[in-house]
């Protein structure tokens, strides 16, 4: 340490450089979201030390996987500057069609998961068609498709909760554990997330999604096949919503009428809390991961603390507003 060019000095410069690099490469929104996760966990641990146990955290990550899969599709659509309000009943379609397929016999049981996802992709393509080719605002067309999906499921089930139960494969993915006791649902989310992150950052499709979100006209003029990309993005969102439904049906071993309702707003909130701009064109998948975990932890801790339901809703809303006020504000007019 008493050397001329002190290692301490060199260490300080290196540290400065590292901080600068980290600062350049981290989004303040994502950093705050992860910061909030830590804060929520610390507050929880004051209440009970079990909040920091590995079991609890893995359990929460497993619960977060369902929201995570659904929010992945929502994020891709939000990056386009659009929104997908058809999530509730596409989730239900995914769950119900997969369980229905299970009831068709051995062949159906094998193809239960693809059938569920396929129905979601089909509905997503109707959304995409409306937005890309008919130029209907996504908020409206996805709303209408949600109504149609609900109608289809009411006819399909006769108005009751379906009696079919989920296939062993669905239950295995949703509730099973594989290597090192990691829940399979978490592995499924990790796979979906890795694929989505790769798709968004390393492929032409992903770059076009960001370009369309920034300015669709410019993307079109530079020769991007904007309509096909929009169509594909909605198809992916529909497919992932349905896959979320398949997982949920596997978890509860049954599909239910309103199983998708509690997932629409949290999915949007998770994406936005993760720093993705609701106007499109800006966002990072890591942020969505943080948003999903944050929302799941918040909901879990509030219910563990035996907060009454009304308090949970109020705190949930206040936290979203407060966090967005910290880092999600739009530009001033004068800027």
């Amino acid at each position: 340490m008493d050397d001329a060019r002190t290692p301490g000095n060199r260490f300080a410069t290196a540290l400065d450089n590292a901080v600068a690099v980290i600062r350049r490469h981290t989004d303040p929104a994502i950093a705050s979201a992860f910061g909030c996760i830590v804060v929520v966990l610390l507050i929880g641990s004051l209440y009970s030390s079990s909040f920091l146990s590995l079991d609890y955290l893995l359990q929460q990550l497993k619960v977060a996987s369902f929201l995570g899969v659904i929010a992945t599709g929502m994020m891709i659509v939000i990056l386009l500057g659009q929104i997908d309000l058809s999530v509730p009943w596409v989730v239900a379609v995914g769950g119900m069609m997969a369980t229905a397929a299970t009831g068709w016999g051995a062949l159906g049981e094998t193809f239960a998961i693809p059938v569920g996802i396929g129905c979601g992709v089909a509905l997503g393509m109707v959304n995409g068609c409306g937005v890309a080719f008919l130029r209907i605002p996504s908020m409206v067309v996805t709303l209408a498709v949600n109504a149609v999906a609900q109608g289809l499921m009411v006819v399909h089930t006769g108005g009751f909760s379906p009696q079919d139960s989920s296939s062993p494969a669905m239950r295995f993915i949703a509730t099973g554990h594989s290597l090192l006791g990691i829940p399979n649902a978490l592995l499924a989310w990790a796979a979906v997330g890795t694929a989505a992150a790769f798709l968004l950052t390393r492929t032409t499709f992903g770059r076009t999604v960001y370009a369309i979100g920034n300015r669709e006209r410019a993307a079109y003029l530079s020769g991007a096949r904007t309509r096909l990309v929009v169509m594909a993005a909605f198809a992916i969102s529909g497919g992932l919503s349905a896959f979320g439904g398949v997982l949920l049906a596997g978890y509860a071993s049954k599909a239910a009428q309103a199983m998708g309702d509690p997932y629409l707003l949290p999915a949007i909130a998770a994406v936005v809390l993760g720093g993705t701009s609701i106007l499109g064109g800006r966002g990072n998948y890591l942020g969505t991961v943080a948003g999903v975990i944050l929302i799941t932890l918040l909901q879990s801790i509030l219910s563990v603390m035996q907060m009454e339901e009304f308090g949970r809703h109020v705190i949930y809303g206040v936290v979203i507003i407060a966090m967005l006020l910290i880092y999600g504000r739009g530009p001033r007019h004068s800027e």
Binding site: L134, V140, A258, Y316
Partner: protein, 335 residues
Amino acid sequence: MSAAQQKGLSSDWPHQLREHKGTLMAFVAFVAMFTIYAANHAAGLNANVATTAANKGALLAIVAIAQTLVVITSGIDLSVGMVMVLANCLASTIVVGTPLMTAVGVAGVLLVGALCGAINGLIVIYGRLQPIVTTIATGAIYYGAALALRRVPGGDIDATLADALTGQLPGGVPASLVLLLALVLIVWLPFQRSSVGRAAYAVGSSEVAAYMSGVPIRRAKFVAYTLSGLLASVAGLFLTCITYSGEASAANGSTYTLYSIAAVVLGGVSLFGGSGSAVGAIFGALMFRTIGDLLFVFNVEPLWQPLFQGIVLLAAVCVGSLRLLRIRNRLDLYG
């Protein structure tokens, strides 16, 4: 548009026609549907049939006016249904007792509604958050407040007031239609014709241009959001008059929010802001309700009704894209 309105109809009727095309189409479609409904109703169009239909229609129509006010500024209010539910729970608690207490209770309900709208407006204006995420979060808060007031459905409302608002006037005119007309005359027309209302349209057309020309953007948005909350609480009050009780139902809230968007679109109000009228939205809402009634009259099996309603909604929003046929330059698609 106001300049055009000041001139007589004779001088520039083609312009007038273009300006009010959405409203007129909604009106014509509603009249056609309602005629078919009335002609095929088993009991014919007597005063009771009309009153029941009017009550259902007016409730959605009031929420649709509330939504219109915000949509005109190119925002969206996803908390409108939750404000209605909150007003419903509050009204079932405080609008009882002596006439004086009832009057104070009504004033209190309206005040709370306006306050909810003002909070939305303040967060959107000064917090510079996007309306869609803001109102999702505040909607959760308002729902929590409603739940705190009414953990289980119940309560009561002053019977005189309820009968007056939901009954018939001498001559068999449904009182709800008079209420609707009064809201248009007292709230909507003064707003639309005032400088604040014009500013709201200007903000919706182009916020940058409005800012550059010194339009009072903040005041316009604030008034629009506050009035929206106020009207949502009127709807909540009216709902209490119909059901004689209060219920903190999340399903009710989100259904009315989503239906209000559908009604606004059917009524020719552009979701991009800057054009359309609450009168159109009212006919959009009445039309949306008549669709359900038509299915009932034609003895469509109840199971199939949601599906038909969804398909009609999908078809209706697709009609708007007929304008694409007239577009010569593809670039016009990407405004």
